[in-house]
Symmetry: D2
């Protein structure tokens, strides 16, 4: 269908183009096959390799370590750009950066510095095997201070075809969550291509099995460790803000798609008494609603990104209340993008018309992708958190979801 040769952004182009320009070119390229790949599902191997070649996998890796040194605001803007065209690829691309942040926030410099450097230098793609709600993987402490992981893990987005993994298990002795960074080809790791869902079909968010997998002490992210400080607690906020940007990107992509269709294909309804769908008073008011919704969600999302950047540079000086403020901004963005996106991706058909339901267009993928992804954690509890803030002045309690 498409080959890497068609991707204009090969490694040697990195120096010349801005990351955003590279991302836009990639997104345009991904868009051409998005409909077909939504149908087939599976691993977007070509697209993953294109991302490897693009240099964008080191987006947030500091320049001194060979990366692009992007801010979170820039990184998330690029996530959104890709999500407009393909929210599955956007997901695994965004989680690349979430996993890098995990190393940065939970690990010590002797861990994250070389891992960052190699990620940028070798274009490593990171995969996820961390799901803290799935406690079936047992992490047994070894005499050398390392662990042995044994058991299953679900929702391992982007683990297949990854170079490195962030994995977790529960230490039965301490009850603690042990998080480690290790090569995907480590003996005993089995990744199942069993992700077949109604949406986000190319995220490979299937299951994995650890068969007595050895983890070296140096691979365990224990110093300072998970959620060990307000700074470390930025991790769930990055996750949530990634989701917001993907939802928003889906909504923006759907709006643009709807617009093209209404202008190019939709017919005026006879009872409207107008000569084109673009003049129908109800079509116009629906687009107006879309606009207000998307604009508000976009501003909330962008503000949260800037707040995150400000908190990120504070490092371990970040105070609990400062982290709490970022959490409120992120939650606001999450709620708004979820609501606006679900509304838009469902009602886009009302401004396109019956013929827009043809399977060849797969316009339903916007709703399916957003509906699937927005269940990551219940939006009702984000609303509740915001209420606790608005009423009681209480910041969200840090957890892997707040």
């Amino acid at each position: 269908m498409h080959s890497l040769l068609e991707v204009p952004e090969a490694k040697y182009a990195r120096a010349a183009a801005s990351p955003l320009a590279i991302a836009r070119a990639l997104a345009e390229h991904f868009a051409q096959s998005a409909v077909e790949r939504d149908k087939t599902g599976g691993t977007p191997k070509a697209e993953r390799d294109a991302l490897r070649q693009s240099g964008l996998l080191g987006l947030i890796v500091p320049r001194e370590l060979g990366g692009l040194g992007a801010t979170w605001a820039d990184t998330l803007q690029i996530v959104r750009e890709i999500a407009r065209a393909d929210s599955s690829v956007a997901h695994v691309f965004a989680f690349q950066h979430l996993l890098l942040a995990t190393i940065r926030l939970f690990g010590n410099p002797s861990q994250w510095r070389p891992l960052f450097e190699q990620t940028a230098g070798k274009d490593w793609f990171w995969g996820n095997a961390l799901n803290p709600l799935d406690t079936r993987t047992v992490a047994t402490r070894q005499d050398d201070g390392g662990f042995e992981f044994d058991g299953r893990k679900s929702f391992c987005s982007g683990a297949i075809d990854s170079d490195m993994l962030i994995a977790s298990g529960v230490d039965p002795a301490s009850g603690k969550l042990i998080i480690a960074a290790l090569p995907t080809d480590r003996a005993g790791i089995e990744l199942f291509p069993d992700w077949d869902n109604m949406g986000q079909r190319q995220t490979d968010s299937g299951s994995a099995a650890f068969h007595r997998v050895r983890i070296a002490r140096s691979e365990v992210l224990a110093e300072p460790g998970p959620l060990s400080s307000p700074f470390a607690c930025l991790r769930p906020l990055i996750a949530q803000l990634i989701l917001s940007n993907i939802y928003l990107g889906i909504a923006e992509g759907a709006l643009e798609e709807a617009r093209r269709y209404t202008l190019g294909q939709s017919r005026a309804w006879p009872a409207a008494g107008v000569d084109s769908a673009g003049k129908d008073p109800y079509v116009l008011s629906t687009y107006g609603e879309f606009w207000v919704g998307v604009e508000g969600a976009r501003l909330l999302t962008d503000r949260a990104a800037h707040a995150l950047d400000a908190a990120w540079v504070r490092d371990l000086d970040l105070k609990e209340a400062e982290r709490g403020e970022v959490a409120v901004h992120v939650a606001s963005a999450k709620v708004a993008t979820t609501r606006v996106g679900l509304d838009l991706t469902s009602r886009m058909f009302e401004v396109a018309g019956a013929r827009a339901t043809t399977a060849s267009l797969r316009f339903d993928r916007y709703w399916r992708n957003l509906r699937t992804h927005s269940l990551h954690d219940p939006v009702a509890y984000k609303v509740r958190e915001l209420g606790d803030w608005a009423l009681n002045g209480s910041h969200p309690t840090p957890s892997f979801y707040s």
Copy 2:
């Protein structure tokens, strides 16, 4: 996967079981393969044949003509019952009755009486090729008073595998819509298996071509003719009320499916502090919203059916204002079922959780089916019609959509 032999309602069972009991058994049967057939699309041949064998195709045919003599309220209740399990089959089954109503309302007794009798006696399945918005089929008047149909027609639900067709063409001389009832195997009729949409995937709502198809004068439904009286203008109201019942059936099916999943599979969200999803305050409030919505829509829909029945027996005595009142009831049901159904089929995932998005369940088919079908004609114009009634006391102007 399933065979007709497994369907308990064969012809000889007709006398014993009530139509509703037969329909429920069929619906249960259809439900077993609904997920698979949503995937494959195409013609639900086995299900269509089961309907033929069930005797339900003559549901509204009077008993004296060999049918079951059901009211519209009963007929629509059965449509809804089937739609809970399979809204594609419900669609073609419901349109069977819309097409019979078309013959009854637009034709004369020497036309509808024998056609009704044969439908009941031979278990004819009627297909649709009437779409009045598609004016590409030319109906050229012949010397013998008949017509020759030539050209294409879109949205021909249930035409494939039908025994008889209701078709339309435009007479270039008069500009009038010519509607005829004719055998599907008439020379020159070509039906394309080209329906491949995101929803209602087994309705075969694809296209047809008429290659100089001869229509006898006696096959033309010209006396009293389309929309020729308030009584004849019940036709679009039957169509709209069928849609409402299908939307409501989809919503009811989705609610029941969601309920089963929440109770059986969903996990309590940690932050809820409860031990089962069924105690989560936000899960409960969402189900409460679903309930109020569905109940209100159900009452509106049932009321409209009773109003239709009362108008139906009035025959040509039906007054314009009486028809108008039915139209208002039908439009109210249409708007409510559309709104409630779209909301429920999208938010059902919020009470089921992320794992309910697995493709094996295909829970998204409820939304895809309803979203697709609810674009039959713009709901915005139904709302406007109701506003014109509520404010100006003007009944909807009869047309093929009002």
Copy 3:
């Protein structure tokens, strides 16, 4: 402003006119001064006396006891009729019947039969001093089996100018709520004209004080007693359904008022490009939304009334599950009328325009009345109850609010 002489329905007219006709005439009469009385607040003495003279205070009193023998459906229809014009008077009129129901459900025949007979014969107006959430009134058991009530009570709707009271106190010995029926002029009862609220301004829902008020044993409604059986537990359902009918009546009154204004006074907005407000596409769609909402709420409310009537005649044979089913119907009506009414009474201004805000019209009273009255108990918990039913199949747990 208006005198009783102007009320056409005096006692001698009772025999001739139907209760509904009498209520309509009264409502029309009340409407003429509703704006002024909303401004002044206080006791609607003339209107209360007109109700006394009308014979409607014995609406649900059986004919053999001298009443009109109306069903609950009829009674609530009349409440709604009055609420269209004046929701304050509708409130106290409806509570008359709630208090009669309280005697019937909580008392024994030797109590309710004579009280019903005297109510019908002497046109007694009953007042409320029961608020179970206000536990400040102490009921001390006396040697003769009676009680002495001492303390304050809030939200005593219609107590001022009443002939009889239903009052409650808490027995410190048993912790039980003691409910009694007694004459309003009993020594020690003090009623304060301290109700001054933003809505429902003539309900006199102010406070009362009991100064060592003696209650005879025969006045205590202890056999079978409060909420003592599924039948007795119809009491809160009657209360809730009264609220629904008042909310619906307010919405219907507001819709009719808005309609008159839009047609008679509103100007077309220049950008609409139409020559009258009644042709504006957005005005029409808003009226369409109003219509669908009100119609659905009306059907739910009427259904609940019929279910209540069916339960009411079952007397002590009423089963818990049967009572539970009525509770579900009532809660559905309550939620729908609250939502629809709040939306309509706020958005009615959008179809009337800026000039409709003039204080002389007091159109805001519809919203103020509904907003105030709909806080009787939180609608969120009605939604939750419905969710518990829809999901878990659990009927609402009987209480004074469920």
Copy 4:
């Protein structure tokens, strides 16, 4: 009740305090009597004089002309600050700046420079008599190039107690709207204290009569004249953005008021099973909804202000498309603040409870003020404009309302 002596910001304080600090102090002062003044209506004379003394009437007057040289962003922030406490005073204060902008945009430097200078120097309060939809005032051209105004004018906010007026009449010869700046005490001007509305009760938005009022040629704002350039067309955008800020201020004030009440006065509902209202899951989710809504609206409103400031400094260089972009931002803010504000001011009672409806609190004033003010022009047409932009790429067509 309160005297000017209690206002800490007298003229001599101007130099020391920032405008925002002055505004906050004034708002706090206004808040103390806001409830009482909402009841009485009429002219807020003391508050108007306090504004005169505060120096804030020259907020947007450049420093070189004696004013405070504030940006529009700063000015609107102050409008919002005052609106939180008193939206009537905020209205007339904001219109002061709209009227100054009118002079600036429609007049020539020899007009606006001295008028600005005198406004700042003499603390002139400007009143509005411009309503372009009311065409009853005839402007007859005189031989000297001046006009004579004769006829009525409605919605003259802040004209009573003003020092200067912006008035309009229609020239029957040209059909053009003639706008003039003139002293309020000019012979022949009659201002009626006839504003008595359900909301915004102290804006004096009543009627005026011009009895053959002489307007000098130099008082007519004809060069460059009304809506004469993209720059001049900023005038309606300023008006609309003022409205947004007032709506947002009302919403913010209501949210703060609700919060105080829930925390200090509301009781936990028994069925909630919590010990304070602040822990009720539905109270929390409602506050969460409020928060997301207000935050989104605030960002949209602030962005529009910054866009306005950027356009304002462009002066006559401002291009049509640039003005169009500001118009889109302003319309987005208008729609969002209207929606969010109406929702919040109605639902605030659901988190406060029944007792919050007491007339002494007048919490309903938030809804009454917003409901009244939000009818300035139909929000439906703002939504339509945004739809025309989102779909067709068409900027709003400049008019006095777009």
